[in-house]
Symmetry: none
Subunit: 144 residues, 4 copies
């Protein structure tokens, strides 16, 4: 159930590589099962205002075991979760936060990325989440 | 005027039973006459992000003696209470918070539920509020 | 690693019984492995100001895997952790918060109690922690 | 004036190595010239409550360009900076935060470490600060 720092580092490294490919410096955060911060980094020249957003995206994704963008669809004016962002000391409900799952499909953490367009943020977060999945599978095979 | 812990526990138990029937783990909170927290529980596997929402729903319902969903109708863009959610350290204005009334119809507390769709949240909160009403009536009959 | 709500309820029930024996109404909180609130109750006539203290005691005990009173010994003027209470949104460093451990001795949560003298708070928290330990042992035996 | 993420990573790696040598899992943070978070990591099994303290130590050291422990000497009851910890959303005034200087001796950031005794915290932070100095010197030589 616990994400080791080593696995979090590999996850963030994959996200960073994706950001370098895109050419947009990002803020990247990983939270654990308890939604507590495990790892954070801000790439050179990344927006200062995106630190808090990256961390809040990761927390939001773990808080509800859902991609942050899916909350945004429900929190628009007139929608079921209007203004939910005010809760939990501030949620972020646009794309860039993705749950991290173990091999049994259980959410055990989340990654949050902020620094560019929501399309780029999502792409970078997804690169991290994909790497996380592969690392867990390798770890699983090795331990068999 | 005061809700005893015992009655709050029976109220939450009824809400929990409703949540178990629906099959959605919930966060459930009861606040008292002063809108102060009396009882809170998080069911196994319930969303971490719903703790704060459940408590804020209960507080919101008591703050204005109204079901939380009714505030949401007034807080939309262009509506009279636009952005009221920013007040009081954060309100929740979608369904799941219901005032608790004594036999004279006076609001003496509230229940707040969060963990599923707003329909499920409301259903579970209503189960708690209904139980609260029945318990008060029984108590009244016994005391006659 | 997870404390079920059922076990948290038994833990709080034991603490409540201890409070009733002493005759002091208490606020009692249990947090989980991630230091997130699991269960909270305020007994009839317990101090309003002790809600936050009970929750902060539980969080503090889990934050550092230590009894809260032990932090207070280190946070006095001139001592190594002077003013540590300002961190983490507010710590409580006097007695009444006790870590909850699994059968392997790993801290997996904490209980926090506030409502009387620190001696009474500690006694009630310890009653909860003792019950938690016994429940885990029984669960272990049954599962063998 | 800017600390690159790469140099921050080398700095934190040195601190982590020191923590591994000591055998105490630490929370480690680096802030930049603007006292904004650049890099943070929590080692496996490090205290949850030390995340905030590590970040606050780094910020405090940069806020005043001073080792955090030196502030603690001035913030005791009756001393010139009594209660300064209440400012800036919370300062930490015991050892474990150290300014990071460039080759001209100008403070351009800080490192903060929390997870053990203040002696261990300081040792690990100093290992990070020493590595930072050496890296800057090498970079300087290379650029000549």
């Amino acid at each position: 159930m616990e994400i080791t720092l080593e696995i979090a580092e590999l996850t963030v490294a994959a996200a960073k590589n994706s950001a370098l490919e895109i050419g947009i410096p990002m803020n990247i955060a990983v939270v654990d099962y308890g939604a507590n911060l495990l790892l954070f980094c801000r790439m050179d020249k990344a927006w200062l205002g995106s630190m808090d957003i990256a961390i809040k995206k990761a927390k939001t994704a773990r808080f509800f075991n859902i991609e942050t963008g899916d909350i945004g669809k429900l929190s628009q004016p007139g929608s079921p979760l209007y203004q939910v962002e005010i809760s939990n000391g501030g949620l972020i409900s646009f794309p860039g936060g993705i749950p991290l799952k173990n091999n049994e499909g259980e959410v055990i953490g989340a990654i949050g990325v902020s620094g560019g367009s929501i399309r780029d943020d999502y792409k970078v977060a997804a690169a991290g989440a994909d790497a996380f999945k592969k690392i867990n599978n390798i770890t699983k095979e090795n331990s068999v």
